[in-house]
């Protein structure tokens, strides 16, 4: 489906991609990880036909640079840094829907599921939205259309836990017919979402590994915690995850999205001295997984 054939990219004398050979099939969910300057963004931009390069990139046999409208019609992209667009939200959605031959309503529906009411913010300039709202809107634009490739750069970084869960559900709905390329600095952020990991370093793919993808994207985990004593900092963190206090600040209960378990445990690790008991039970799992 996606082929990178001896792809190299040099900026002045700095080689950013070094003879990349990659084959990505339909339905693969790939974590593209690596430190700053590893070449992740350049690889994505070559895939989107935004850079010229040596070698060949094809998507379904088409070269993105030459047949960009056909190729990009099928690629949804969520950038890490939202562009500072001054246009109103409503116009951005209309513009994107029109270019992508999609219906505005589909994008609005995805935004609604993520907790973003486009009716209320249609007249606001995009640049004035909060980081989380921008992220939700860009996800809605990428997913509210017919695509078979999703390219996302730290897509869930600014989302609250509820929106993250919905986002994972949206991904789960597309598992069979969509290839996903998810870029991140940290593997633990995206590990539960993927079934293949590509690690880049100085323009080369240094690790290409298949991983077990038993974790359900749309599943949830019931979590119970017991603390040694009430503590304001952890209480605030838990309430941010939608937990409720069931016993004077020492007993907590809540639900966590399946792919968020690592992230959640990462948060808890800051308060590990306070924890006396923790349980995680899988409660929901989507039929297809």
């Amino acid at each position: 489906m996606i082929n990178f054939n001896h792809v190299s990219k040099t900026f002045k004398r700095n080689q950013v991609l070094d003879n990349i050979d990659l084959k990505i099939e339909l339905g693969e969910r790939i974590a593209l990880v690596g430190s700053n300057g590893a070449g992740k963004t350049t690889l994505i931009r070559c895939l989107l036909g935004e850079y010229v390069y040596d070698g060949e990139v094809t998507v379904n046999g088409l070269v993105p640079r030459r047949e960009r409208t056909k190729v990009l019609q099928k690629i949804g992209f969520v950038p890490q840094l939202p562009p500072p667009l001054k246009m109103p939200v409503g116009q951005l959605v209309g513009f994107a829907a029109s270019l992508c031959n999609s219906e505005r309503k589909r994008m609005e529906d995805v935004a609604q599921r993520l907790g973003l009411d486009l009716g209320k913010i249609a007249r606001l300039p995009f640049v004035k939205l909060s980081g989380g709202m921008k992220q939700k809107l860009l996800i809605a634009i990428a997913m509210g259309r017919d695509t078979n490739v999703l390219v996302m750069d730290e897509p869930a970084a600014n989302l609250d836990p509820d929106a993250r869960h919905i986002f994972f559900e949206l991904l789960a709905e597309r598992l069979q017919n969509t290839t996903m390329l998810i870029s991140s600095h940290r593997l633990d952020e995206v590990a539960p979402l993927v079934n293949r990991v590509l690690e880049m370093d100085r323009g080369k793919v240094v690790l290409d590994d298949r991983v077990a993808d038993d974790a359900s994207l749309s599943g949830k985990l019931a979590c119970r915690l017991t603390l040694r004593r009430p503590e304001e900092a952890i209480a605030k963190a838990l309430m941010g995850w939608g937990f409720r206090d069931t016993g004077n600040g020492t007993e907590w209960e809540g639900m966590i999205a399946g792919p968020d378990r690592l992230r959640f445990l990462g948060v808890l690790s800051r308060y590990v001295g306070l924890l006396t008991q923790i349980s995680l039970d899988e409660t929901e799992r989507s039929a297809g997984q």
């Binding site: 935004e50 850079y51 409208t69 990009l72 992209f77 840094l81 001054k86 029109s98 270019l99």
Partner: protein, 275 residues
């Protein structure tokens, strides 16, 4: 074609919300308001009185302000958009590069030309209400000149934006281009060249190639047909061409130059890295 108009509309909306557009509109609107406030329509210079006096002054001020405004705002916003990641995102949507580039130019053209024209049209409207005679032939020709020079500098601005990868470089290059054209006006470098016995053909060719000089000569030609006030090169041009032919040249040449620059910019844009 649909994508081209969508992009043009997008650029118009972005520009209307930008601070530069507010300042740009205020400057041109303000010039006309000030010219009225200082009673310019009542004064007489070289036999000109009424709205024609105002239009001549307005066109002279436009020559000084419009090119640098168009150049700087174009290169700043285009190079700025590229630096800020706007291109990365919007060009990930399925829009063809030609629709994107030319749509952007069309949108930007409307935004830079309309305030300049609106200020002049408002002056004509006000004069009509006040029963001051409006020199319509001059009004139409000046409209054509402003449209032509706006397109010219927009095309040059787009070419510079494509060549320069950062705002600073783009802005510096735009300023340098404007300064070079300004220096080669009849009364500055061309005068010195004539004093230094440079061949008259070279001087005239330099004058004809400089869109600022062409604009200035054509604008003044209407109120000073002998061109005694603007220098020897313009006088020779007038002698070679004759008035009517030069007036046509002054409308067409900047459009051709702007189109060539924009086309060059597009070809480079299409061949290079987009963001």
């Amino acid at each position: 074609m649909k994508h081209l108009w969508l992009t043009a509309k997008l650029d118009i909306v972005e520009s209307l919300r930008a601070r530069w557009f507010m300042i740009y509109s205020l400057v041109f609107g303000g010039i006309v308001a000030l010219l009225f406030a200082f009673g310019l329509t009542e004064s007489r210079v070289l036999g000109f009185i009424g709205l024609s006096r105002l239009l001549v002054t307005y066109i002279q001020l436009s020559m000084a302000i419009l090119p640098i405004f168009v150049l700087i705002t174009t290169v700043r916003s285009v190079a700025g958009d590229r630096e800020a990641g706007v291109f990365e995102y919007l060009l990930s949507l399925p829009v063809s590069l030609s629709a994107w580039f030319w749509g952007k130019i069309i949108g930007r053209y409307l935004v830079v030309f309309l305030p300049v024209f609106a200020a002049m049209a408002a002056a004509a409207g006000w004069a009509t209400i006040k029963e001051v005679e409006v020199p319509w032939e001059m009004f139409l020709y000046y409209t054509g000149l402003l449209a032509s020079i706006s397109w010219c500098f927009l095309g040059i601005g787009m070419l510079i934006s494509t060549l320069a990868r950062s705002i600073d470089v783009a802005q510096g290059a735009a300023f340098l281009v404007w300064l070079t054209m300004l220096l080669f006006l009849d009364l500055i470098l061309l005068g010195i060249m004539i004093q230094g016995h440079v061949s008259p053909e070279v001087v005239v060719a330099a004058a004809l190639a400089n869109p600022l000089q062409v604009f200035r000569t054509a604008a003044l030609m209407l109120f000073d047909p002998q061109l005694v006030v603007i220098g020897p090169a313009a006088y020779v041009i007038f002698d070679y061409f004759g008035g009517p032919l030069f007036k046509i040249y002054a409308l067409i040449y900047p459009v051709v130059l702007g189109t060539l620059a924009a086309t060059g910019g597009f070809l480079l844009f299409r061949r290079g890295d987009l963001p």
